[in-house]
Structure formats: structure tokens, C-alpha cells
């Protein structure tokens, strides 16, 4: 099933391209020969039933799977023409340029300010940290709510605010691509709405790959949708097509809620 799905990205070079990507956890193959192109400045949604490998695939894009004991990766992920899994590539550098936001908000047990400043600090940022923190919190649509609570513990924020802080923290290191692993699944509908609005705004400056369990969410926010099932990429294309006129029967069954 090594189908490359060419996508018209408006003449731009793709932000990321997976070629024949397979992931094994011990004996288990959880991603099976996946190839796909992530166009720059677009939102790509990865959907599929639980355990289909969408989170694993997402974590291949910035080498977070390296941290899992016993994970083995075959194939290539091309970023600016370079394979992220080449021997000379430093995963630490990869993760700075391709950021990730997790399912549950996981702020550091420090102040709001220190959360936003952590990334720039570890990368030796020498400029005006206050300005960077403000800028970052603004781009995550959080500044208005926390500007007078910067010294407070991030744990005092609401769940939705914590998640936007985590997004801000990721944006602070100026990544090119932001990976999001079900960023709104632990949040209430209003907080979810805010995250979705934010994703919509971030598209202008970043390429976004988002794993979601919620098909309405994928339909609302993504430009392209990839449907994974049992580790295989079943279908990938413009979100409209996937939801209204899918080619594969399994895709149709999933998006119409017949299984999953």
C-alpha cells in the first residue's frame, strides 16, 4: 500500500513528506508503509479509530518515538529535503523546528511566564524575554487572560488556558511545523472552540498536523484529512472529499459513523 497522494499545495514545497514509513513496537508493526505529503501552511488532520496508529504517526514527524523503549522506525520523513532519520540528524534540533502539543495540558509546575520562556531559554535566547513572552502569549490568544497573572503557577489556570499556554510554549521556540495530538479532547466545548479558532489563526504562520478523534473537528478545521486504519493509510485527500465523497468504502463507513 505504498500510495503517495500528491496534493496540490499551491506550488509550494511540501512542509513534510513521509516515504514508506513503518513503525514497530517490538514485534508489533503499528504503522505500515505510510507515505504522505504535508503541504506547507495547511492544517492536516489524522483521523481513525483508537489504536489505528495516528498518534504514533504524528510522533514520527518530530522523532518523539525515539523516546519510546523498543520502538523501531523504517522509511523516511523528509523535511526540507533531508531525512529526519539520517544518522547525522540531531533529534533535539528536529524537535525545536517541529513542535508538539499533547493531548492533556502539561504545563511545567512553574509560573505562566517561566512556561512560555522555557523553550527560548534552553536554546540560549539572548533578546528581550519579556517581549517574547508577551508576543508568544498573544499569538496563542492567551495574553488578555493572563497578562496580570504571569507570576502565578500555571496550574492555577483553567484546563483550556493551560492548553493554550502549552501551545504558546511550543510557538515560543519558533517552529515551522506544529504537531497536535488531540489537543482539545480533554477540554470542554467552549475551551475546544477557542483552541479551534486558534488553530485557524495559526495556519497563516505554521503548518499544522493534528490528530483528532472528533470527526466534526477534523471537518471544521482541516484542509486535508488522512484516514488511518490498523496502521495503514487508507485514504488521504482534501477534507471535503474525504467527508463527502470518499473513494474507499472503509473511509465512508468511518466518517459516517458506522464503525470506530
Amino acid at each position: 500500500m505504498a500510495t503517495v497522494h500528491p496534493i496540490d499545495a499551491g506550488g509550494r514545497a511540501p512542509a513534510l513528506e513521509a516515504r514508506g514509513l513503518s513503525v514497530f513496537y517490538g514485534e508489533n508493526q503499528v504503522i505500515k508503509d505510510v507515505s504522505l505529503v504535508i503541504p506547507a501552511h495547511r492544517v492536516v488532520a489524522l483521523i481513525g479509530p483508537s489504536g489505528c496508529g495516528k498518534s504514533t504517526l504524528l510522533r514520527c514527524f518530530n522523532r518523539m518515538n525515539d523516546l519510546v523503549n523498543g520502538a523501531r522506525i523504517d522509511g523516511e520523513v523528509l523535511f526540507h529535503g533531508q531525512n529526519l532519520y539520517d544518522r547525522e540528524v540531531d533529534p533535539v534540533e528536529v524537535r525545536r523546528r517541529i513542535g508538539i502539543v499533547f493531548q492533556k495540558p502539561n504545563p511545567f509546575p512553574k509560573s505562566v511566564y517561566e512556561n512560555a520562556a522555557f523553550g527560548p531559554r534552553i536554546h540560549g535566547y539572548r533578546g528581550d524575554m519579556d517581549a517574547l513572552v508577551e508576543d508568544t502569549l498573544r499569538s496563542a490568544a492567551l495574553w488578555e487572560e493572563v497578562s496580570d497573572r504571569l507570576g502565578e503557577s500555571a496550574y492555577n489556570l483553567s484546563g483550556g488556558q493551560q492548553q493554550r499556554l502549552c501551545i504558546a510554549r511550543t510557538l515560543a521556540v519558533k517552529p515551522e511545523i506544529v504537531l497536535m495530538d488531540e489537543p482539545a479532547s480533554a477540554l470542554d466545548p467552549i475551551a475546544t472552540q477557542k483552541i479551534e479558532d486558534l488553530i485557524w489563526e495559526l495556519k497563516a504562520r505554521y503548518t499544522i498536523v493534528i490528530v483528532t478523534h472528533n470527526m466534526q473537528q477534523a471537518a471544521r478545521i482541516s484542509d486535508y484529512t488522512a484516514f488511518l486504519y490498523m496502521g495503514e493509510l487508507v485514504e488521504y485527500g482534501p477534507t471535503d472529499t474525504i467527508f463527502t465523497n470518499p473513494k474507499e468504502e472503509r473511509t465512508e463507513a468511518y466518517v459516517t459513523g458506522r464503525f470506530g
Binding site: V94, R95, F108, K110, I122, G257
Partner: protein, 343 residues
């Protein structure tokens, strides 16, 4: 993973599956009872519980009474078990305080040991204990925390690591006198450190290393993995993630474990007797290679003399030692509370 969309394929409950059968049956029963067959869905449930509610506790059966008695007996037994410990401790403390409190004054703290009980004090022992404490902390803390970080954050989880882990846990259970023998052979003889403070501190460090390592590992393991993931996701190196996120969160636990282990070291006697520190010392160490004595050794020394006066001196020294230990435990609690303000 939450928010599963409703499953369409689930089989319906059995009663719904074959409604015609249940309906027919119910209608038959109702006809029998001469009732009007009407509502096919609203079957009435029989009332639950006794029709005539009795007052609670009015009719207690034998079984229930036994059950209650067993509960009370167990309660009393547990309270007695607690009381045994507390009473023993109170008697011990009371006895020591009665014997020794009169001994404690400035002269007692600032005089050296002497053959004349009226002139004897614990200066050498107290200062020696502080020396021992400081050196042991300086040696054992970095070694144990380093080992704990390595085992938790760096080492691959394979059979070698598991073997090291098991051995550390076993070492924590080795009797302290065995460490004394090791200290005598290794530090006093082989490394020719003599009966010095340094040899003693190294021996005690070995003794408490496993304890601090285990406590530190526990504290590091308690840091949620999401914190590490967050740090790595931002492009932190392993060392940055450990130093800036994991260690600060684990520090209260690490410090508590360290201080408790050190307070064990301060009270240790056997390994120091083993390395030959049990001698008459009437001076304070000026460097790590000087001879020394410590509070427990001084207490042991005085207790083994026949004169009542020396026993009272020993009681005084015990009070000072207990005070040192209580202070250290208080410090552990304070540190823990202070660093936990973010959680």
C-alpha cells in the same frame, strides 16, 4: 481516548430483542388476574424492601451483633498497638531526660571529655559529629543523586540495569557492621587514611548510599512523564530536561530521603567502632585526616564505665544527639513543604 461516537452495531438487550413474547406473557398474566389489558409497555415493578419498615437497630440478630463486636475489638487492638510504641518512647525519653537534663549546660557543650566527670563535656563529640555529617553529606549526596538520575533517566531498561537495581536494594539491607569491616579494610588500611574523619565519612557514605539512591529514584520516578515529554518536545536535551524540570520537581523527595539517611548516619556507632574510632579524643578535628569521635561513640564510651556520674553524662549526650536528629527531621519537613508550593 474519550468521546467514542455511539456504536450502531451493539446488540440490543435481550428483552427488547423479542418484545412480542414478553408482551404476550404479561397479557396472559393480567387476564388471569382479571385486569384490563391496556398498557403494553408500562409494567409496574414490585415494591422493593419490606412493606412495613422497622426502626433501624430494633431487631439485631446474633450475627450482626458479632459483626459489630469484631469491629470494636479490632479497633481496640490497633489502638493498643499504637499505644505500645508511644508509651515505650515516652518512658525512654522520660528516663533519659530525668538522668541527663541536669548535665546540659554551656560547660557540658564546650568541654572535652575527661576522666573527672565534673569537667567532662561533649565538645569533641559534637564537633566531630558535625564534621562527620558534613563530609558524609558532601560525599553521599552527589554520588547517590547521580546514580539515581543515571538509573532512571539514562540507563536502558535491560538485565544489567535490573541487576544493579536489585543489588542496590539488597545493599540497603546489609548490616552496618559489615560496612565497618569494609571501611577498615578499604579506607583505613588500603587507602591508608587511618582512623580519620574522612575514613569514617567514606564508610558512612557507603552505608547510606543505597538508601539515598532508592529514595531519589522514587522521587524522580514520581515526576510525571508528561513533563519530560513537554521538555523534549520543545527541543530540550536530556540533561536540560533533567536539570531544569525533572530534578526541581524531584528535589523535595530527594532532600527528604537524604536528610533521613544522614540522620541515620549521625546515629551510627558500629561501623565507626569497627574502623577503630573508639578511643579517647580530647580535641576537635582540624582537617579531614584528623582523628575524631562522635556523639554515639562518646555515649557508648561513657555508658560502659561503672560510675553513675558517667551514665548521667551519657544521658546528657543522648539528649543532645536526639536534639540534632529532631532538628534534621524538622529540616526535612520544612524543605519538603517549601518546594512543594507549585503543586
Amino acid at each position: 481516548m474519550s468521546g467514542d461516537p455511539a456504536r450502531a452495531g451493539d446488540p440490543p438487550p435481550r428483552s427488547v430483542q423479542r418484545p412480542e413474547i414478553t408482551r404476550v406473557a404479561r397479557e396472559a398474566v393480567q387476564r388471569e388476574a382479571g385486569e384490563r389489558v391496556s398498557d403494553p409497555t408500562g409494567a409496574e415493578d414490585p415494591p422493593v424492601g419490606p412493606k412495613d419498615p422497622v426502626r433501624l437497630g430494633a431487631q439485631r440478630t446474633l450475627r450482626e451483633r458479632r459483626r459489630r463486636t469484631a469491629g470494636i475489638v479490632f479497633h481496640v487492638l490497633c489502638a493498643l498497638a499504637t499505644a505500645t510504641g508511644v508509651v515505650a518512647l515516652v518512658i525512654l525519653l522520660g528516663d533519659v531526660l530525668a538522668d541527663g537534663l541536669g548535665e546540659i549546660d554551656v560547660a557540658f557543650l564546650t568541654s572535652f571529655a575527661s576522666r573527672i566527670p565534673e569537667r567532662a563535656g561533649i565538645k569533641a563529640a559534637l564537633i566531630g559529629s558535625l564534621w562527620m555529617l558534613t563530609l558524609t553529606a558532601l560525599i553521599s549526596f552527589p554520588l547517590s543523586v547521580g546514580a539515581a538520575i543515571y538509573l532512571e533517566e539514562y540507563a536502558r531498561k535491560n538485565w544489567v540495569t535490573r541487576m544493579i537495581q536489585t543489588n542496590i536494594a539488597n545493599l540497603a539491607g546489609v548490616p552496618s557492621i559489615v560496612y565497618g569491616i569494609l571501611g577498615l579494610a578499604l579506607f583505613v588500611r588500603t587507602l591508608a587514611l587511618g582512623r580519620s574523619v574522612l575514613a569514617g565519612a567514606l564508610t558512612l557514605s557507603l552505608l547510606i548510599l543505597p538508601v539515598i539512591i532508592l529514595a531519589s529514584q522514587e522521587a524522580i520516578r514520581a515526576v510525571p512523564d508528561s513533563i519530560r515529554q513537554a521538555a523534549y518536545g520543545l527541543g530540550a536535551t536530556r540533561w536540560q530536561a533533567v536539570r531544569m524540570q525533572v530534578l526541581p520537581m524531584a528535589l523535595p523527595g530527594i532532600l527528604t530521603g537524604t536528610i533521613l539517611a544522614l540522620s541515620r548516619a549521625v546515629g551510627e556507632t558500629a561501623p565507626l567502632v569497627m574502623i577503630g574510632a573508639l578511643s579517647f579524643v580530647a580535641f576537635t578535628p582540624r582537617g579531614p585526616l584528623d582523628q575524631f569521635t562522635v556523639l554515639p561513640l562518646q555515649i557508648f564510651n561513657w555508658m560502659s564505665r561503672p560510675q553513675q556520674e558517667f551514665r548521667e553524662l551519657a544521658a546528657g549526650a543522648i539528649i543532645v544527639l536526639l536534639a540534632v536528629l529532631l532538628l534534621m527531621n524538622a529540616a526535612a519537613i520544612l524543605l519538603r513543604n517549601r518546594y512543594q508550593r507549585w503543586h
